[in-house]
């Protein structure tokens, strides 16, 4: 039986961690993820978990401690945001290439500077090519549910990759909303024990971790890593199917909302999806054929599936909550355009950067985007394919 509760996104993730009761939590605090180790420290103090709680001097050290613990055959977790994730940068790659399935709760916050504590995706997007699986949430429920699925995905023998479970800083991390929690016994049964095939301290077959790799073998190892990321796609779907069978909530690579006959679609990541759904309900009632694809899994990127979902659309707006600083768009925009290139009838695609540093996105903003897409199709003029929304600027806004 699910338990009806009201929790912030941070407490929801901390609750998932408590229920899983991992071997090691290496912690260094940073806003807005600080509450996660804070709640967890209380669970440790109250004897509710058996976890070794390691307080370290930095995020570089917290990730290093996780890699060490995983190498020894343990299940290790941490949480961070923004500059904390950036400070882990080097060791994020070590975790992925050493094939250590660390689980990291990333509470998305703008990456300095100017210094800012509020939500955007520039922190985790900066780490998108580090070899981590990245799964994003719209709300506290999804953050909790994604966390419960993370270890089954990352620890799978065909995958063995670290997993980043992301949610929007403050918007979901500090917002209290209704949530359905699962019984701890059911969670434990679903997640299962971690039984790695090989690990550093296995006395029958000890192994080295993090050794130097010569040119003659390095590329083979990177290809294996790339293959593991491809394998993750099926495992993510299998775990989601099992999750649905057990707990009744359905997940995939992305959520399609009113996409069945949608001619105009928005593609985005995170909490703004909810706001967008409200705009869709309103516009649908007025007869507009509008829909939404909310990306849940960004790494591995579900390119073929996304292209299929958008194949019947006339125009698509891809919303990026981080800047690409490449003079042609944001990371989700680039992935989506790439995914759609091989479609026979490509929709017109524009890329809008929004919500940086916590800039709010309201229902009316989403409505404006749909009207803009309709105008593109009606006039046959696409106009700018990369622009910013809602900024305080002297330039005329496109929307």
């Amino acid at each position: 039986m699910s338990i009806r509760e009201r929790l912030s996104g941070n407490e929801a993730v901390a609750t998932a961690m408590k229920q899983i009761d991992p071997d090691v939590f290496a912690a260094f605090p940073i806003t807005p993820s600080t509450e996660i180790p804070q709640y967890f420290a209380q669970y440790v103090a109250d004897g509710k978990v058996g976890t070794e709680f390691v307080t370290v001097d930095s995020e570089h050290s917290s990730m290093s401690a996780c890699i060490g613990a995983e190498s020894a055959g343990c299940r290790a977790i941490t949480a961070t945001s923004s500059a904390g994730l950036a400070y882990m940068y080097e060791v994020l790659y070590v975790a992925a290439s050493a094939r250590q399935p660390v689980t990291l709760a990333c509470v998305n916050r703008a990456l300095t500077g100017p210094i800012n504590i509020n939500c955007d995706h520039s922190d985790s997007m900066g780490a998108r090519d580090a070899g981590w699986i990245q799964i994003y949430a719209e709300n506290n429920q999804e953050a909790y549910d994604n966390y419960l699925q993370a270890m089954r995905i990352g620890e799978h023998p065909e995958v063995r990759l670290p997993v980043m479970i992301c949610q929007d800083g403050f918007i979901t991390s500090h917002g209290v909303e209704n949530i359905l929690l699962e019984e701890t016994e059911a969670v434990k049964e679903f997640v299962g024990e971690y039984k790695p095939e090989n690990y550093l301290l296995k006395k029958e077959n000890p192994m080295a971790v993090g050794a130097y790799d010569v040119t003659q073998y390095y590329m083979e190892h990177k290809v294996q890593q790339a293959e593991a990321m491809k394998n993750a796609k099926q495992v993510i779907l299998d775990v989601a199917a099992d999750f649905e069978a057990k707990f009744g909530r359905k997940y995939g690579f992305f959520e399609e909302y009113q996409m069945e006959d949608a001619e105009y679609a928005i593609v985005l990541i995170g909490s703004t999806a909810g706001t967008c759904k409200v705009a869709i309900d309103k516009l649908r009632a007025e007869g507009h054929k509008v829909g939404l694809v909310k990306i849940r899994v960004f790494r591995p990127f579900p390119a073929e599936e996304l292209a299929q979902a958008l194949s019947k659309c006339k125009a698509v707006a891809v919303l990026d909550r981080s800047e690409g600083f490449n003079a042609c768009g944001g990371p989700l925009g680039a992935e989506t355009r790439n995914a759609c290139y091989d479609l026979e009838n490509r929709p017109k695609i524009i890329n809008i950067v929004y919500g940086l540093g916590g800039r709010d996105c309201a229902v009316e903003d989403a409505e404006k985007i749909y009207h803009h897409l309709e105008k593109i199709v009606a006039t046959g003029v696409t106009g700018p394919v990369y622009f910013h929304m809602g900024q305080r600027d002297l330039r005329e806004e496109v929307l």
Binding site: R6, I117, N118, E138, N139, D168, F170, I171, T172, H174, G175, V176, E177, N178, S271, T272, A273, G274, T275, K277, V278, G358, D360, C361, A362, V363
Partner: protein
């Protein structure tokens, strides 16, 4: 979502506006509603103006933006009326509740032409009488429940008794004071 009630809180950092907002979310959750309670974070410091928000509905609130057209506004510190446009976007069919010893008629001229209901409550006096110190959040919570009618009053009082007993399990002596603050406020809110 026509059945959704949206409430915006204006306070100063350290006065407990965020706590009151989360308490309201708690009370509405206990009453079986779908809720949101969230603060807007700026460069927080004691005394700086802060905003917090509630959505209360019969169905899940998907929207994740700030509230621009609230049904109700709560002002925890009346000095904010001079610097902050507290009635911005406020539904004329809704109401504003201000923490002040003044009468609603004295507050209305400060509200930039707001035509809806104006309510006042002297949370300082109630808090000092019942709790011995100035904690405006319990009175302001009771005031918004009374003014908005978003929760059944009798059920709310019963739920808050249980909630305070749980929250103050280690200092049960403050439960009675908080309950007195709650019930006194519900009697003393003035409407003009």
């Amino acid at each position: 979502m026509n059945n959704m009630t949206e409430i915006r809180w204006h306070g100063r950092g350290g006065q407990g506006a965020k706590t009151a907002c989360l308490l309201l979310a708690d009370a509405a959750f206990t009453a079986g509603k779908f809720v949101q309670g969230f603060p807007e974070y700026g460069p927080e410091r004691m005394g700086a103006p802060i905003t917090a928000y509630n959505r209360i509905s019969e169905e899940r609130c998907n929207i994740h933006s700030n509230i621009y057209n609230p049904d109700y506004v709560v002002v925890v510190d009346e000095t904010l009326l001079h610097g902050v446009d507290v009635t911005a976007g406020l539904n004329p069919a809704g109401a504003i509740v201000v923490n002040t010893p003044k009468a609603p008629e004295e507050i209305r001229p400060l509200l930039r032409g707001y035509a809806g209901r104006v309510c006042t409550v002297d949370a300082r006096s109630i808090s000092e009488k019942t709790l011995g110190r100035y904690f405006p959040n319990t009175p302001m919570l009771a005031a918004i429940v009374k003014v908005s009618g978003v929760l059944d009053e009798a059920q709310f009082v019963a739920d808050m008794q249980a909630s305070f007993e749980h929250k103050f399990a280690t200092k049960p002596q403050v439960v009675a004071g908080n309950m007195a603050a709650l019930t006194m406020t519900m009697k003393e809110v003035r409407e003009g």
